[in-house]
Amino acid sequence: MCLSVPGKVVEIQNNMARVEVGGVIRDVSMDVCPDVVVGEYVLIHTGFAIQKLDEKEALETLDLLRKMAEIQ
């Protein structure tokens, strides 16, 4: 039920955005996620963007995991 998917914002008009999820474009409300610009990724749940994804944090997590797993 709390399933949410990441998607890339391709267009924003007022409080609605067109977001690409796995090659499909969805209309998504940006009402609770106002500070997003085109090109950024958001997490989508029931037609709403609920948070902006942080690429820097994602890369840091992956870097840490690679180190933990001893993979270069």
């Binding site: 039920m1 409300s29 609770v32 609920i50 933990m68 797993a69």
Partner: protein
């Protein structure tokens, strides 16, 4: 960066499992609070890969499975009224009430519409001004901001025929009740990443401060879950208890304050009945000052 495939890397997963085996010495019970975590653990076969003495317990689950009979019964009763159009998330269709389910009722011709977003219920209300559109509002904090925003929008736009049958639930009070009653011993908690996306870390700090248990906010991909298990095992082995955040690419410490504000504007905390858990203080919500958008009044003409 697609934010999915990168977190399904098999080599890294194998490395993380080795780390867990190295650090884990004692039998422990970890609870995953969220049903989507339970699904991920099964889908990726993670349970079988972990040391045998780490037992994963499924927690309260999801807002669908904790919806009590009485709310389903009420939704069914409303769907039988010819002035009502009932809108619901698809997940609710099969949930049994006392004598029927929404799926059975739909098959018998009741006006029940499956919606993906509460905004679709608002659209139905605009398209069917002669009907009372009742949205069966279920959800944890992940979903509540969407429901709240829709309610506030209906209010602002003066759409009088959208009603909310409110069965939303709040996660932190349920976890408190669980830890207080604790029939099963829990050594650490895997916290629901998308509820925490909205609420942030602070509402969960009581788990470590008051109950002296470690907890980790986790994402939903295999590497997220393995890292979360490792973080919990590590804390337990060192006899530490803090609330850590594994899901940093999504969850900020302060959550999503805009979303929280919408929830607070639209709803007030209330007692709620959970299927399987009973009444839990503060774990539900009611509609505050927006009563006219609540349950439709008993039939008084169409």
């Amino acid at each position: 960066m697609k934010f999915i495939d990168e977190f399904r890397n098999k080599e890294i997963a194998q490395g993380l499992i080795r780390r867990i085996f190295e650090v884990s010495t004692r039998p422990i019970h970890l609870m995953e609070v969220c049903g989507t975590h339970t699904v991920s653990f099964f889908r990726y076969g993670i349970r079988e890969m972990l040391p045998k003495h780490i037992r994963l317990l499924s927690g309260p689950g999801c807002p669908v499975c904790v919806t009590p009979n009485q709310d389903i019964d009420l939704a069914i009763a409303l769907s039988r009224r010819d002035d009502v159009l009932l809108a619901t998330f698809g997940d609710m269709m099969r949930v049994p009430g006392s004598t029927s389910s929404l799926q059975k009722e739909k098959a018998e011709g009741r006006r029940i519409r499956i919606v993906y977003s509460p905004l679709e219920a608002l659209r139905l209300a605009k398209e069917n001004p002669e009907k009372k559109v009742v949205f069966l509002a279920v959800g944890f904090e992940t979903t509540s901001p969407a429901i709240a925003t829709t309610l506030l929008q209906a209010h602002d736009e003066g759409i009088p025929n959208l009603h909310f049958l409110n069965s939303q639930k709040r996660v932190p009070p349920a976890l408190r009740a669980l830890l207080e009653s604790e029939k099963v011993q829990i050594h650490g908690l895997i916290l629901p990443g998308h509820v925490c996306t909205i609420l942030g870390r602070e509402p969960f700090e009581f788990i470590s401060k008051e109950f002296n248990r470690p907890a980790v906010i986790a994402g939903f991909e295999p590497l997220d879950l393995l890292q979360a298990v490792w973080m919990l095992v590590n804390q337990i082995e060192k006899e530490q208890a803090s609330v850590e955040n594994q899901y940093t690419r999504v969850v900020r410490d302060q959550g999503n304050p805009v979303a929280v504000r919408k929830m607070e504007q639209a709803f007030e905390q209330d007692e709620a009945l959970w299927r399987g858990l009973g009444w839990i203080p503060g774990s539900g919500c009611r509609q505050g000052s927006f009563q006219f958008h609540g349950r439709p009044p008993d039939r008084g003409g169409r």
